[in-house]
């Protein structure tokens, strides 16, 4: 019983606590690739604490939507953190919902973020918001098809059941391999990384996510920044723990959790490194080439489900 309460808390702590570190790690690695020393690994934490202590400047035009958005975004991500298997494949809160709920909770956060970007009446917000919606709409079908593939192979849409089912496979089947490839592209798009969106840019013609949050400051900005770090980590966690669930504890024993945590850190580190490599070696794609990229991912997902149906 006590474990049933401790594990969700542990999950939240890992996601909330580690997510700025992932961002710091990616930034550091990229700096290294560019032969810079780069900011400290813990820079995102310093930024967040600084922002949390500051007062905020709010636009006169903005309404209560603007002030509610950071909370809605942050909390929707926290609920998702409860549903995703992080350390153990047994997720105590999994009766709450499945991967479809996860996708739609992301949509909830996005819905409010885009509204708040329109709320201030600035053109930058509108640019960012409309692009964000366009890209996420294009990413949705591929995401849903890869989820379908995984769900049908493992017989469940519940993330913890998926992980349990996947633990019994030694090697990815070809269908899962295609779904994984499709999902990687989708995750890059959803998390707003290069080649879809450049998280460092503040040039009005290219920014997407940064455009939307331009008017936020103080604790509002902190919550949104933190939520976007957590979103990246959660997406990576879903990827890692459904497709490569090596080392995920299936029970709730203490040593099992420790080993699982070590594996988790290594796997997340590997994918973060991959993101850093991709970001350092590719340029941002032109905005209207992004549908092509996501179209490719959709085709891969279609192939995944077809190969599963026809071959097995």
């Amino acid at each position: 019983m006590i474990q049933l309460i401790i594990l969700p808390i542990l999950q939240i702590v890992v996601i909330v606590g580690l997510s700025p570190l992932v961002k710091g790690f990616i930034n550091k690695t990229e700096a290294r690739f560019q032969c810079r020393r780069g900011p400290s690994l813990f820079q995102p934490y310093y930024n967040l604490t600084k922002l949390l202590r500051k007062d905020a400047v709010v636009s006169e035009t903005a309404s209560w939507i603007f002030r509610a958005t950071p909370y809605v975004t942050f909390i929707s991500i926290l609920i998702i953190a409860l549903l995703v298997p992080v350390l153990s494949s047994t997720v105590p809160a999994n009766f709450t919902g499945d991967v479809i709920l996860v996708i739609y909770l992301f949509a909830l956060g996005r819905f409010f973020l885009v509204l708040s970007s329109l709320d201030t009446g600035s053109a930058f917000g509108g640019i960012g918001g409309s692009r964000e919606m366009a890209i996420s709409s294009m990413a949705e079908p591929a995401m849903m098809l890869s989820v379908f593939t995984v769900a049908i192979i493992s017989g469940s849409t519940n993330l913890s059941n998926i992980t349990q089912a996947m633990l019994s496979y030694k090697l990815l089947s070809p269908a899962l391999f295609l779904a994984l490839a499709a999902l990687v592209i989708v995750i890059i798009a959803e998390a707003g990384r290069i080649p879809v969106d450049n998280p460092f840019t503040h040039l009005e013609l290219t920014m997407i996510h940064e455009g939307m949050i331009l008017e936020f400051s103080g604790r509002y900005l902190a919550l949104i920044e933190w939520a976007s770090c957590m979103k990246l980590l959660i997406l990576l966690t879903i990827l890692v723990n459904t497709f490569l669930p090596w080392g995920v504890a299936s029970g709730l024993t203490f040593p099992g959790l420790i080993i699982s945590f070590a594996f988790y850190v290594v796997k997340i580190g590997f994918f973060a490194l991959l993101i850093a490599i991709v970001e350092s070696s590719f340029a941002k794609v032109r905005l209207f080439r992004i549908p092509n990229l996501l179209g490719t991912s959709f085709i891969l997902a279609v192939l995944a489900i077809i190969t599963h149906y026809i071959v097995s």
């Binding site: 070809p174 490719t296 077809i306 190969t307």
Partner: protein
């Protein structure tokens, strides 16, 4: 005695699907160099697959084919193509008669047909290795498709190479390779034809100031 050998490995299935992914990359990119890279990657995976098949089936002459594949298809042909691209100085990238989305959808349909058509055959195969036949046919068809829709001569060479890859993989996975001498002949053919076509591309460029094969229609008169 060959029919007694049964290779049954999921790794080869995964490799087959990776080859398919490389082919999808070939269609979905708009850069010529990425196309060549896609070819090199696919040939490398093909070499890995053929090495594995040689290992599992115990037919050791396939190792020779693997080695030749590595040398010719992974090193020499891509290198030569990169050289041609540099020499001809192609400015415009991949051009196609169809729009991007349409060609992607078409090739998806082609892959679908390949899977659907081979379904009655692969149903009787062993648990694994079911992907090999449909994937090889899909690669052949998609290669054919790119030859039809792409304008540039080099992209057409790449389409031809894709077809050859597909056929080679089909032979390899279903009957564990052709006799060595036939395969050597095919390799030699491919190498020579690529080189001839490369020179031909250069000549077209010299004569017409473009490598767009659409302009070859002007030769009618």
């Amino acid at each position: 005695m060959k029919q007694h050998i049964i290779v049954n490995s999921q790794t080869i299935d995964v490799l087959a699907v990776m080859m398919l992914m490389a082919t999808v990359l070939h269609i979905s990119t708009s850069r010529l160099t990425t196309c060549v890279w896609a070819y090199a990657i696919r040939s490398f995976i093909l070499a890995c697959a053929s090495g594995l098949i040689a290992y599992y089936s115990g037919i050791y002459h396939i190792f020779i084919t693997t080695g030749i594949t590595l040398v010719i298809k992974v090193v020499i042909i891509p290198g030569f193509l990169f050289y041609i691209i540099k020499k001809v100085g192609i400015k415009k990238e991949v051009e196609s008669y169809l729009s991007f989305t349409l060609s992607l959808l078409c090739s998806c349909g082609v892959i679908l047909i390949a899977y659907y058509a081979t379904e009655p055959i692969i149903r009787f195969e062993s648990t694994f290795m079911r992907h090999c036949l449909p994937v090889s046919i899909a690669i052949t068809l998609v290669g054919f498709f790119t030859m039809i829709t792409r304008k540039k001569a080099i992209t057409q060479i790449l389409g031809l190479l894709a077809m050859e890859d597909g056929l080679f993989f089909a032979a390899l996975s279903t009957s564990y390779g052709m006799p060595l001498i036939v395969e050597l002949g095919v390799f030699f053919d491919i190498l020579v034809s690529v080189i001839i076509m490369g020179i031909y591309v250069y000549r077209i460029k010299e004569t017409f100031e473009t490598t767009d094969t659409g302009f070859l229609r002007e030769l009618r008169e």
